[in-house]
């Protein structure tokens, strides 16, 4: 782990090297710390590592009565079936396109907003704008879906009324597959852009005022100062968040998608994770669904490592 000034914490920290003989003494002396960590240790062992053991059913035909170990092995059958199914490319495309769309729109907006907040000098207005834009973060995904459905309802929705008030024809947002991704992404921006500024504002608050003073004396305009002082300050934070985002390209938040899906928009709203839910828990195809889930996590993991490697070669802001 490099010691960089990144904005996101990560596990390993430079630690003192235990010198052979003192170790036992310290373990005995601090025995209570092991009790402190025991609940978390057991929790992760059972509820994170336990399911990892269960992944083997992806390579088996899981029969509930025989249990995980008793079920017969089938190798990569479930994977082949999934890769050759007619919906494979659709699922992959929907998942990737929603993620990339979300990244393209949802990633820059909090940055711009944070830079803009940072320039507001009126304390009251700044606080008001921040308080209000943070608020949607606390709205539950179910309420969010309910709002979207009510606002976009073709007969009574306010958005539809507003569009028609402008003399335009409003599309049927909720059922038209062409609108699903936009609806998903923009509602996400509405909900989380404000909250997303906090981390950037934290970084901006660390800018040395001396830099700005020197720049003012040199005759730099406000815009130039943002461009050459504030934005470079945010680069490490941006890089880290970008890497983390890339690591979840195939992991779009399916809780909201699940709520907004309907038979009519399925052709653009069905993503890998909602498919896993449907085939696994609704249709009880345990092994098949586990295989797809495993495919998904492996791709995510690989993406994260690859992107991190690329960033590591080109800058010093990598995750590890």
């Amino acid at each position: 782990m490099q010691d960089t000034k990144t904005a996101i914490p990560l596990g390993a920290v430079p630690k003192p090297k235990p010198s052979g003989k003192g170790v036992w003494k310290r373990i005995v002396q601090n025995w209570e710390l092991y009790i402190f960590i025991a609940p978390a240790f057991l929790y992760f062992l059972i509820f994170s590592y336990g399911p990892m053991y269960g992944i083997q059913i992806a390579f088996k035909n899981f029969i509930p009565t025989k249990g995980i170990t008793g079920s017969p092995w089938v190798g990569f059958d479930h994977f082949t079936r999934f890769f050759h199914s007619y919906y494979f490319w659709d699922l992959l495309w929907n998942t990737l396109s929603i993620s990339l769309y979300e990244l393209a729109v949802g990633f820059p907006i909090p940055i711009i907003l944070a830079l803009a907040f940072n320039e507001v000098r009126n304390g009251f207005f700044k606080k008001l704008a921040q308080t209000v834009t943070y608020a949607p973060h606390f709205i539950s995904v179910v309420v969010m879906a309910g709002m979207i459905i009510s606002f976009l309802s073709p007969s009574t929705g306010i958005v539809v009324h507003l569009i028609e008030g402008l003399g335009l024809h409003a599309p049927d947002f909720l059922t038209d597959p062409r609108w699903f991704k936009t609806m998903y992404v923009l509602s996400g921006v509405w909900q989380s852009a404000g909250w997303g500024t906090i981390i950037y504002l934290a970084a901006l608050s660390g800018v040395d005022p001396g830099l700005h003073e020197a720049a003012i004396i040199d005759g730099a305009s406000r815009f130039q100062r943002i461009r050459h002082i504030n934005i470079p300050t945010l680069v490490p934070t941006m890089t880290i968040l970008l890497i983390l985002n890339m690591g979840s390209l195939l992991g779009v938040g399916f809780e909201k998608i699940l709520l907004l899906q309907n038979p009519l928009n399925m052709s653009s709203s069905d993503v890998i994770s909602t498919f896993v839910y449907r085939s696994g828990l609704v249709d009880a195809q345990y092994s098949f669904s586990t295989a797809i889930g495993l495919f998904n996590s492996v791709i995510n993991c690989v993406l994260l490592i690859v992107v991190n490697q690329i960033v590591r070669r080109t800058s010093e802001n990598s995750l590890w």
């Binding site: 996101i8 596990g11 390993a12 630690k15 601090n30 710390l33 092991y34 009790i35 402190f36 960590i37 609940p39 978390a40 992760f44 509820f47 994170s48 590592y49 336990g50 399911p51 990892m52 053991y53 269960g54 907003l113 907040f117 507001v120 704008a129 834009t133 608020a135 606390f138 709205i139 539950s140 995904v141 179910v142 309420v143 309910g146 709002m147 009510s150 007969s155 009574t156 306010i158 507003l162 028609e164 059922t175 509405w190 852009a193 404000g194 906090i198 934290a202 003012i216 305009s221 406000r222 815009f223 809780e255 709520l259 009519l264 896993v276 839910y277 828990l281 345990y286 889930g293 495993l294």
Partner: protein
């Protein structure tokens, strides 16, 4: 900032654009929030036709009356309070001691534990194996399926650990140990009372998460008497509406002919959104400082 230096014209223009931009962002977020409150107390006729677009029109409290008469909503509310209180208590008991142990440099094995926890950030068993495990543990259709599988989040453990590392002076621990104070006493009597900010942040983060979650209830609970509020909301807000849509496109004339039953349903929707969101939204401005602090602590590398 230097106040003596006069701003140039370009700077002023830029500043004006900036204010307009921030104001637009503010308005775009604020409008739907105001609209929902107005819609929940307006005559559904005006809401449906679009005549009510900002301030309440034809004020009625029928929506709230119906919500308060609905026993499913009350029951869901009670369940959610129970799950949130029990869940958050478990979250804190698992997170804080572990985070404290991990913050101690003299804790042998901290890198092993940290590494083991961090792996779960990047790789997991997935939906079905987790479901099968919870089922095997006999938790299906009990409160435990809601509160135990989400007992801790690695992110929150890291945030708390960072707090303990940066805000609790190491000398305190050393002095206490020289006086023969045990780790347990040290943690309960000295560390925790000094850590109120992080306890508040964690209780809020976990509490809001528990209050708003629906997915684990959806997959693990099948008895509707145990449904939390969010699942009841899903029935009212999502399923009902989607059922009407799924039947095919409704043209304007049919929609207009729909009787007041549909209007009441629409009114109830807005009222129920407000009722379900109020606890979180009302406490939020007062506790905003803590929420923001939580994110800030998380953003300082430990």
């Amino acid at each position: 900032m230097l106040s003596g230096v006069k701003e140039t014209k370009r700077d002023k223009a830029f500043l004006v654009c900036n204010y307009i931009y921030v104001f637009l962002a503010f308005a775009i977020v604020f409008y739907p929030l105001v609209y929902m409150i107005s819609a929940s107390i307006s005559d559904p006729k005006f809401v449906g036709s679009g005549e009510m677009w900002l301030w309440p029109k034809g004020i009625t409290f029928e929506g709230y009356k119906r919500v308060f008469e609905n026993s499913n909503i009350w029951n869901g509310y009670a369940n959610t309070i129970l799950y949130t209180v029990v869940g958050t208590a478990i979250n804190l008991v698992v997170t804080l001691p572990a985070a404290y142990a991990l913050s101690r440099r003299d804790f042998v094995g901290r890198n092993f534990f940290m590494g083991m926890f961090m792996v779960t950030m990047f790789f997991g068993g997935g939906l079905v194996p987790t479901y099968l495990l919870v089922k095997q543990l006999g938790m299906i259709n009990t409160m435990w399926a809601i509160v135990i599988p989400s007992a801790a989040s690695i992110w929150n453990i890291i945030v708390s650990r960072t707090f303990f590392q940066s805000s609790i002076p190491k000398e305190l621990q050393e002095a206490a140990q020289i006086d023969g104070c045990t780790n347990m006493r040290l943690f309960v009597k000295i560390i925790l009372p000094l850590s109120m900010p992080i306890i508040a942040v964690m209780a809020l983060f976990y509490g809001v998460g528990n209050w708003n979650s629906y997915f684990s209830a959806l997959i693990y609970l099948n008895d509707s008497a145990k449904y939390p509020l969010q699942l009841v909301l899903r029935q009212i807000l999502v399923l009902q509406e989607m059922a009407a849509q799924g039947g095919g496109a409704i043209d304007a004339s049919t929609a207009a002919a729909m009787n007041s039953k549909a209007e009441i349903a629409a009114l109830v929707k807005y009222a129920v959104i407000i009722v379900a969101t109020v606890p979180v939204i009302v406490i939020y401005p007062f506790l905003q400082r803590y929420f923001v602090q939580g994110v800030m602590i998380g953003s300082v590398k430990g």
